[in-house]
Symmetry: C2
């Protein structure tokens, strides 16, 4: 009766494994450039929105209980207006407790015999959630310096894309995305586009959403997140876009199935988180984005090895010139007490690379730079 | 590529269907005794805990990001101490964004060919989440006045029990629960015990947790919730207990698989909700419980039909004496603008019954009583 797919999974999720290796060192001595966990406090406008929502929950005339499983209308409208400049219908936006949870939940839309194509390297939860839901036909699309981190589409029912990419930092151009949209349209595949880092794109010519590509609403789901842009990693808030135009091969509406799934399996994001989300979206350019991108830039300049990413993405992808990524991870941890993320943890093509996160605390970035640890 | 199980589901989740039927009436005129949505504001100690947590998120020295996917240690310990009086190990308690979400997520522990036994009537999400995950071998255990709402166990891999029951209000005795534990132990079934309403039990001789039964840790998962007890329906906070002692038939630890699933598919409950949860558990007898149980008692006395529940549960289960539950629902809505829940929405044995919720606003209860609507 055990889910047989669970036997095919690595026992430890990547970041749990890293935490386990770091556990024997005093936490306060470690310099953490590993997990993409935010370190900058929230803007006061967001804090005030949380406090107001909390106060209302204690007020008999303002108290309210269950929210819609799809999110508050005001927040759905604010996401449509601020993130998508009115190009996405608020009714097609579904607010959630974060993208990791959405990536797992949306597995339920698809039959377990679906094939899946995944950028290699990529965020481990794509494979984990696919496998747990019984989807074991997984094809890798290697992303390497040789192909400029831009692989050709691979034939599969579901194709995951993350841009700006975690971990490589590569941002797909309009042309690259259009190629995937055309491919999906021809093969009747569905694209799942993870836009968690879109706010970090500095170059205005690069696309921040799959929906900037013509014809994409017919083939693509997009996941979005408040985590990194607004410091909501612990608050938990994200969203999913499932356009009305998206159908299965048999013509059935994907969005309609999602309404069934979200109603049955979810009860909405926390009302406190949603209140803060509305306030967060009023900020034009989030201060956190500027802060982390400055750190990415500093860090990138300090590393005497080939480094990708860090210009339109908060991650640096360091080419270790043939060295093993777990070996370098262990060396940096033991010698310098620096936590990084071994590239191979994101997939086989990540071997020989190390991911550095610009979400680190300023003093950790500074100390790590002083050490010249990566020489 | 569409999940084939979705074709077997009712298009509308019960409470969405009720909302759709009520939509043509002015909301402020409706008396809502339907959905079990809390109406009493939160205790000030909980509001203060939210405000403090919000303030800390804006403070550079106190800000923190990701929480554990399993919940804060302090909250897991508080649940172990307050709810389970130290009889459950905090390491076996997994904090979540609510029981509905847990009931869906825990499907991933089990293979899709598992058979499922469900109390009939019962909370619709058990069937919905089972079916969405491909478990279509569903057996009903009818709960009727004839068997005192206490059915014999039915042979299945997974057996859902809810006590105090939603919707019938029946609380299972030690003997009734022990019968299921013995049965599960003999048949190698797993019990999934939903304790969302346990705080509403007034009779001290009735069990509030499956773990009051000897041998239950070897066979049972328990879900728990802050929603109704503390008014957290919109805040989103719950937990799951998966004891170390619980194994699959092949001896593999269920808890170990859960750690893999929770790490891959979830990122923890909101830090704000968790801070409020710790404060909530400091309250000895939640004021909300007393308030709603007074309302249940008033309501029960006012109904001149056979009524079950309402004494150790916040729901009343009204025997309509042969009338159809949707017909009475529609009549009460159209004539008296009272929203109820038709019993058949919880399963075939619910036909001929109506569920009334004591979570209604005091003025709604009062007005509905004045109308003598159910005569």
């Amino acid at each position: 009766m055990r889910n047989p797919s669970l036997t095919t999974l690595e026992e430890n999720y990547l970041f749990e494994e890293i935490a386990a290796r770091a556990r024997s060192y005093p936490k306060e001595e470690l310099l953490n450039l590993g997990i993409g966990d935010t370190t900058l406090p929230l803007q006061s406008s967001i804090v005030h929105a949380f406090e107001k929502a909390a106060h209302e929950l204690g007020d008999p005339t303002a108290y309210s209980g269950y929210e819609s499983s799809f999110g508050r209308t005001g927040l759905r409208e604010a996401i449509a207006k601020t993130i998508y400049k009115g190009t996405v219908d608020p009714d097609d936006i579904f607010v959630s407790d974060g993208s990791k949870c959405d990536i797992a939940r949306l597995q339920q839309l698809f039959s377990s015999d679906c094939s899946v194509a995944i950028q290699d390297p990529s965020y481990p939860a794509y494979i984990g959630a696919s496998k747990i839901s019984g989807k074991d036909k997984i094809h890798f699309m290697p992303c390497t310096p040789e192909n400029n981190f831009s692989p050709a589409p691979v034939d599969a029912d579901l194709i995951y894309l993350c841009s700006p990419n975690n971990p490589t930092g590569h941002v797909m151009s309009h042309e690259e995305l259009a190629r995937f949209v055309a491919f999906a349209s021809q093969k009747q595949s569905i694209l799942i586009f993870d836009s968690a880092y879109s706010a970090f794109i500095q170059d205005p010519t690069l696309p921040r959403s799959i929906y900037e590509i013509e014809g994409s609403k017919q083939v693509a789901i997009e996941t979005g997140s408040f985590s990194k842009t607004f410091g909501f990693t612990g608050v938990r808030l994200g969203w999913l876009v499932i356009p009305k135009e998206l159908t299965f091969a048999d013509g059935h509406s994907v969005r309609k199935d999602w309404i069934t799934i979200a109603s049955t399996c979810f009860n909405g994001a926390s009302n406190l988180a949603q209140a803060g989300g509305v306030a967060a979206l009023l900020e034009a350019t989030p201060a956190a984005v500027r802060h982390y991108m400055q750190q990415a830039s500093l860090l990138k300049k300090s590393i005497p090895l080939p480094v990708y990413g860090g210009e339109n993405a908060p991650y640096l992808w360091v080419d270790l010139q043939g060295r093993s990524s777990w070996a370098v991870f262990d060396e940096l941890l033991q010698r310098d007490k620096i936590i990084t993320t071994p590239g191979v943890g994101f997939g086989p093509s990540g071997e020989g690379f190390l991911r550095l996160s610009a979400f680190a605390k300023p003093e950790h970035i500074r100390k790590a730079m002083e050490m010249n640890a990566l020489y």
